[in-house]
């Protein structure tokens, strides 16, 4: 059994307060596996990143030769991959290897998205114009619920929000969200992961916003009021849940502060800036610089909070600030282009550089504290950089494939390096 993260610190405190002796402390520690600690966790994470990068590189190579592959081979291969992944996951679960089972089931759910795309591609259907993302989120959410898996729940949340962003441009409101969201809420109840729970809560807030958008249409004068009321009610409801200890509060409600801040920010920022007002921003160049200053301040606060604070509440707030930073940067970019004359690639380079900084600090934090949450934040930041660079890379698919495979090799080497680092075993 793995040593709980907090227990090591608690044992130190108990021994310092004279509650337990040194022998008793060692006896308690002996009940757990030797602490794999931060270096091992980082190594595992880097291996996972290497696998992801290698997979993306392989997909780029596949895409390069996509038209030469017969449709039946494509769909057959995709279905075989999905079936094989879930079967392997079940075998691992039977053998008691829970972590491996979760990863394999997650991989199967990821492949399902590819299989859905292949099914649409066979009849030349444009995936952007269909509900493939919704179907994929259903597969991911059911996998997250049944496995259970926080990783699948988080991915399902991202895909579901992506579908909402695509579908919300049209009416009626994306009601199908309510079919998937309960599965996600149930999944994070079982998986007990505060970050996935926070994502699920925020997804609900996004839906509330787009619901009001669908109800009120493009009546700009009315929409902010409606969105504000719904957001406030949603936030208040979840806030009440979060502060109710009997019965135990739902996991997704623990991220309520994050939800409230994001909802209110959406209410204040989106209606005044989205679509129409974006055009006006370009004309008011001077407004770019205060927002840029805000972005810089939020970035510093985010990094500081994520590195120095340990509680879930501060972590949630840090994540919210990070989200706000990205959101604000996205909002201000059109204005900033014009006022500063910087090209798009320059901004993405600066942005990805900042993400490298956040990722490095948080992974370093994880290496010293063993906090999976900080590690997750760092991994997200690094993945963001990878995505940005791949999207932004000139040279087409062969260059992308080469970059991703090189990245996979580098991460593999880094993982090996970490695995050889001294283990931090409490003595």
């Amino acid at each position: 059994m793995r040593l709980p993260h907090r227990l090591g610190r608690e044992l130190d405190a108990w021994q310092r307060d004279g509650l337990i002796s040194d022998d008793q402390r060692r006896a308690i520690l002996a009940r757990y596996d030797p602490v794999a600690s931060a270096s091992s966790q980082v190594s595992t994470t880097l291996i996972a990143l290497a696998i992801l990068a290698a997979g993306a590189g392989f997909l780029s190579l596949l895409a390069w030769n996509w038209n030469a592959i017969p449709p039946l081979v494509k769909i057959g291969g995709a279905i075989a991959g999905v079936t094989g992944s879930y079967a392997a996951a079940a075998m691992k679960a039977r053998a008691g290897k829970v972590q491996h089972a979760e990863w394999l089931a997650f991989f199967g759910a990821l492949l399902s998205g590819g299989a859905l795309l292949v099914g649409a591609e066979m009849v030349h259907v444009d995936p952007e114009r269909t509900d493939i993302a919704l179907l994929w989120s259903i597969v991911l959410a059911s996998t997250a619920w049944l496995t259970p898996s926080a990783l699948s729940a988080g991915t399902a949340t991202v895909v579901l929000v992506w579908w909402m962003l695509v579908a919300a441009g049209s009416q009626p409101a994306p009601w199908a969200f309510l079919l998937v969201w309960p599965m996600l809420a149930a999944a994070v109840e079982r998986a007990k992961n505060r970050y996935a729970a926070g994502g699920v809560a925020i997804a609900f807030g996004c839906w509330a916003f787009f619901f009001t958008n669908g109800v009120w249409g493009d009546r700009v004068g009315a929409m902010p009021v409606a969105a504000f009321v719904v957001a406030l009610l949603s936030g208040a409801w979840l806030d009440a849940l979060a502060h109710t200890d009997d019965p135990p509060r739902p996991a997704f409600a623990r991220a309520t502060p994050a939800l409230v801040v994001v909802l209110l920010s959406l209410v204040w920022l989106l209606p005044s800036s989205f679509h129409r007002e974006m055009g006006n921003w370009r004309d008011t160049e001077a407004s770019a610089w205060p927002v840029l200053a805000l972005v810089a301040s939020l970035s510093v606060m985010t990094v500081r909070l994520s590195v120095t604070r340990a509680g879930w509440r501060w972590r949630s707030i840090a994540l919210v600030l990070l989200s706000l930073t990205w959101f604000a940067a996205w909002l201000v970019m059109p204005a900033a282009y014009r006022s500063s004359g910087l090209a798009r690639w320059t901004w993405t380079a600066i942005f990805s550089g900042a993400m490298v900084w956040v990722g490095s600090l948080t992974v370093r934090d994880a290496s010293t504290t063993g906090d999976n949450g900080a590690l997750g934040l760092g991994v997200i930041a690094i993945l963001a950089v990878v995505v940005i660079r791949v999207v932004d890379t000139p040279g087409g698919l062969p260059v992308q494939a080469a970059l991703l495979l090189a990245l996979a090799a580098f991460l593999g080497w880094l993982a090996r390096h970490w695995s050889r680092a001294p283990k931090e075993v409490p003595s």
Binding site: A63, W64, W66, N67, I75, A78, I79, V82, T83, S85, Y86, A87, A89, A90, M91, A93, R94, V98, A101, A105, G108, A109, S112, A115, L116, G119, A120, M122, V123, H124, V125, D126, R129, T130, I132, L135, I138, V139, S142, T143, W145, L146, T147, G169, S170, Q171, P172, G217, D218, R276, M278, G279, N280, G396, L397
Partner: protein, 229 residues
């Protein structure tokens, strides 16, 4: 239920979703009637994959009475050199746009599905098969007509509809892809640049297979009489 059984159940959900989605998509290809619509080709991203995007003039309609909308004539081509082309059609089946006019009406139609009725137009080449043209639009399929389901992407108070059909891109040989020309981009005050559709490319037709319900798939492309699937 134990963990392996739960995981297998999740796998079953995935497989059922994938197979039913693929069957739903392929069904019109198996059981639909083949029709031809004038089309134009433009490049798709990423270009490396050899895909083109297909634009159909039949997706841009100007609906006439009895819509209940205020139909305002388009600006003349002289005033608006890049004026978008709209095909005039009749609105069928009151009161699908009734209950008000102007912003309220068009807002209710945006994002909804409409059905375009098609009629034979002219042979694609001498003694060749006949292409189709849109003649009317309705909220439900019309039993005696060839219906093509479309999604209202944009609509304005003058009765202009921008529809989208599901199938819009396909891989083609490099020599065909080379003929694809980019869409015009139009910049309007306080709006992001938008693509503006153009008339069909000469000798280019999209091949659809449509069910009586109006659901359709893109079966291929005819370019200068050569069939590409």
């Amino acid at each position: 239920m134990n963990a392996p059984a739960r995981i297998m159940l999740a796998g079953l959900v995935a497989l059922v979703t994938i197979v039913s989605h693929a069957a739903y998509r392929v069904w019109p290809g198996w059981h639909g009637v083949e029709i031809y619509l004038p089309a134009s080709m433009y490049p798709a991203d990423p270009a490396d994959l050899g895909y083109i995007r297909i634009d159909l003039p039949a997706e841009r309609l100007r609906v006439e009475a009895p819509l209940g909308l205020r139909v305002v004539p388009l600006q003349s081509a002289a005033n608006e050199p890049q004026a978008e082309l709209f095909q005039p059609v009749r609105g069928v089946g009151a009161p699908w746009a009734s209950g008000g006019e102007g912003a309220a009406t068009v807002q209710r139609l945006r994002g909804r599905d409409l059905f375009v009725q098609l009629e034979p137009d002219r042979p694609m080449w001498p003694a060749g098969p006949v292409s189709m043209r849109p003649v009317s639009v309705s909220r439900t399929p019309i039993a005696s007509a060839t219906n093509l389901a479309g999604h209202v992407n944009r609509v304005d108070e003058r009765g202009h509809f921008w529809l989208t059909f599901d199938s819009h891109q396909m891989p083609v040989p490099p020599e065909v892809a080379a003929r694809a020309k980019p869409l015009d981009r139009v910049r309007e005050p306080n709006r992001p640049p938008t693509a503006r559709g153009r008339a069909a490319d000469p000798g280019t037709f999209a091949i659809f297979r449509v069910l009586p319900s109006g659901r359709a798939v893109l079966a291929g492309l005819l370019v200068d009489g050569k069939r590409i699937e």
